[in-house]
Symmetry: C2
Subunit: 348 residues, 2 copies
DNA sequence: ATGAAAGCGCTAACAG
DNA sequence: CTGTTAGCGCTTTCAT
């Protein structure tokens, strides 16, 4: 063993002995039981304070077999969408008596490209082995089978993705619909040549692209998809590639998320093109930065906060014992138009 | 007690019995001890798998009195600076065998205004009671005394702030210097009327403002400080107030962080002013969004990632047993000029 | 209202 | 190499 154990701390036993009462009584006081006489309670609290007693939550959780803790897995911290989802989760568990404990899948900004499956698995295993009441997953990239294996029965709710596995519910926006809406919205504005910056096909998040392709096809338009990592840099590269290779320049670009859209905006600026005059840009997620005055990026709002809240509420229900087949809740996304879109120039 | 305990899961005892070996042997196998014969090891692993055994980390941590876990407290997720710091922390503990567990202080975007001291305290108490090896704090707003009381001896490193308390180290950028550099940088460009959007004086993060005031005074310039919450909205309001009330419009604005600077950019645009032609804007933290092509915000880089890494390394040293007086490590910030600054118009 | 006693599931000497 | 024996610090019946 590498490092030495921490010095033994003051225990309930110590407090009990010093106060001249039983350990059980101290336990009751610590848990604010009403069954304790005010006198004893005061005595115990005072002694505990004097001795510098710190309850050992590991021990109490082990003994009581309950943790009152929900594990939250977030893919990364650089994408603001996770901040929104987290805010919703926090709101959702409010007043439930549950605590939140978060684990981050990928520390690097360029995550999404190189998600580390081992890290992801370790985070979930860790929650399970710590016996959390349930797990909330935002941005999980593994397969349903792996998840089932990792969870070993711990209730879980997957956010922003539909994942079919026993005991796992899903709360997400209708991404396929979002993709369709994006195309229809741009098309109604007059756009025919609409490109799409998609996330890598290896990731289980392809519905937005599917919706895009479906709507384009139905409108008799030719889909133009470029795959990239969903980061600003990725979006920049993708836009560059589109400008370089497209036989005719698209008049609008729909990106799979706001980060990539931001990158596209940058690439367009570098190329001397004006948004929305030359090219319209539409993002996805409606993050705080899209809404920023200086960015004014139009975006498809998936209601990240609502997803977080809904997932938390659903998990609480499962924890409370509600059973039944896996539930899939799908919210309708909506377009939030801002300055980055306009009718194509030839139209005006 | 409100909710029923989770169903009893498969234990080492079960595996031992089923495999016809002792519990201790199973324990050794689980901890990958080399002292176990390959045959037994295989037998045990196979039985464990078959029975669906899941180690109970609560029990092992309790028994071994070691958690190999570091608690990370982050003020909020909406400010990207915490993502950078976290990335540094993750880098810093790499290979140490420690795990990360994070708690978030404020879920709301407008945090910073109304930090919830109870939440903050609960997060730290929770880490302490879970017996983490050490705690890393980014954005802690409480007093040194409260922190000492909460930590009860758990080693901790505070990031982006100097906090004098026994057993607590600090890793931060020299914010006062940063404030001075900001003023000097703008002044060398020709600016005389430099306003500052500061964080609330109630928060223990006032050095940037102090540096600003110091440099302004030394240069014989008149400081103009507006206090606001460090969010985009706060920055917007502050800039509005400056435009509304200043007798002569400043030619440059230095904001206490990038979010507020972003808000200032928005307010300037709304007011029909051009950046940097009419007003130069300088932020702080050099977050990813300042660096974005579409924002191009000049900023003071506090090297958030380095702070995170340095703090993690320092904590690891403490955990390894290094003692001695509290250490304060202060990195020098540097200006990252981008398109949001230029010489004042009268100068060009 | 308080105490005694039996675990929770695991680790850690210590034998052998 | 493997088994025995004590705990880790707390909760939880069950008495009284």
């Amino acid at each position: 063993m590498d490092s030495r154990a921490r010095p033994r701390s003051v225990t309930m036993e110590d407090v009990a002995r010093e106060a001249g009462v039983s350990r059980a009584l101290v336990s009751l006081v610590m848990r604010e039981s009403p069954l304790v006489s005010p006198a004893r309670r005061a005595l115990v609290l005072e002694t505990a304070e004097r001795l510098g007693y710190t309850p050992n939550r590991l021990a109490s959780r082990l003994a009581s077999n309950r943790t009152h803790t929900i594990g939250v897995f977030l893919l990364g911290l650089h994408n603001p969408v996770f901040a929104d989802i987290y805010a919703g989760i926090a709101e959702g568990i409010e007043g439930s008596g549950e605590h939140l404990m978060v684990a981050v899948g990928a520390a690097e900004q360029d995550a999404g490209t190189d998600v580390d499956p081992a890290r992801e698995a370790e985070a979930i295993t860790s929650f399970v082995d710590l016996r959390v009441d349930g797990i909330l997953l935002a941005g999980y990239t593994g397969s349903p089978e792996s998840l089932t294996a990792l969870l070993r029965g711990t209730p879980a709710v997957v956010i922003t993705r539909e994942l079919t596995a026993p005991g796992v519910d899903s709360v997400l926006a209708d991404d396929r619909l979002g993709g369709r809406l994006a195309v229809e919205f741009l098309n109604e504005l007059g756009h025919d040549r609409i490109a799409h910056i998609a996330s890598r096909a290896t990731l289980p998040y392809g519905s937005r692209r599917a919706g895009y392709v479906e709507a384009m096809t139905r409108l008799g338009l030719e889909p133009l998809v470029v795959e990239e990592s969903m980061t600003e840099r990725g979006g920049h590269r993708a836009m560059g590639e589109i400008l370089r290779t497209a036989s005719t320049r698209p008049t609008a670009v729909f990106a799979n998320n706001d980060l990539a859209a931001l990158g596209a905006l940058g690439a367009l600026a570098s190329a001397g093109l004006s948004v929305p005059r030359d090219v319209s840009v539409l993002g996805y997620d409606d993050t705080a930065f899209a809404a920023s005055d200086v960015v004014q990026l139009s975006s498809v709002d998936q209601h990240g906060r609502d997803l977080g809240r809904g997932a938390a509420e659903q998990l609480l229900r499962r924890i409370a014992g509600e059973d039944g087949a896996p539930v899939v809740r799908r919210l309708a996304p909506r377009i939030v138009p801002r300055q980055s879109v306009a009718p194509p120039r030839s139209w005006a």
